[in-house]
């Protein structure tokens, strides 16, 4: 079972990596910050699978923090994008 969960975590990470390549090429900054979103969800999935595969229950706590802080980073981004809009006007 552990091997299967580890493989699943690896697969999810690989999917995330493929998406990252697309995202980081842009063109817009909003595309880029999607990277944080994608990695947020994918990273949480990989963490949960990893935690179960390695019997590290604390991985769920890491996932919880990741979910919170990914949202925090995205809000910071949105504020930054807004600020430059205002500056330009």
């Amino acid at each position: 079972m552990a091997d299967f969960l580890l493989a699943a975590a690896g697969f999810v990470l690989a999917m995330v990596a493929l998406g990252l390549v697309r995202i980081l090429r842009g063109p817009g900054d909003a595309d880029r910050i999607m990277a944080a979103q994608l990695l947020g969800t994918g990273g949480i999935a990989a963490l949960l699978l990893l935690g179960e595969a390695m019997s590290v229950p604390a991985a769920v706590d890491v996932a919880l923090i990741l979910a919170l802080l990914a949202a925090f980073v995205s809000v910071t981004f949105a504020k930054g994008a807004t600020r430059t809009e205002v500056d330009r006007v």
Binding site: F4, A8, V12, G19, Q37, G40, A45, L49, A67
Partner: protein, 97 residues
Amino acid sequence: MSLTLDVLTVLSVCAGAFFFLAGTVGLLRFPDALGRLHALTKADNLGLGLIVLGLLFQVEGPSAALKLISVWFLTLLAGATVTQLLARTARPGGMFE
């Protein structure tokens, strides 16, 4: 009993992994930022939900299960609202359109 649970886990996790695949395909294929955001958040949140479901068959005790479910809920809540915010910045006029 444990074999049944294992089979359920494998099925559910595989289905979840498939949705991550679908999300990535959408990300690679859709032409505009809003479309990509759409593909990404829907498919990946569903994929995460299925993976959480699969792991629920493995954990012991209600508190560990509750924690897993709350991770998924938090991701959904945060994802749904934050994606709105991001979509507005992706529009030409930014948030003050």
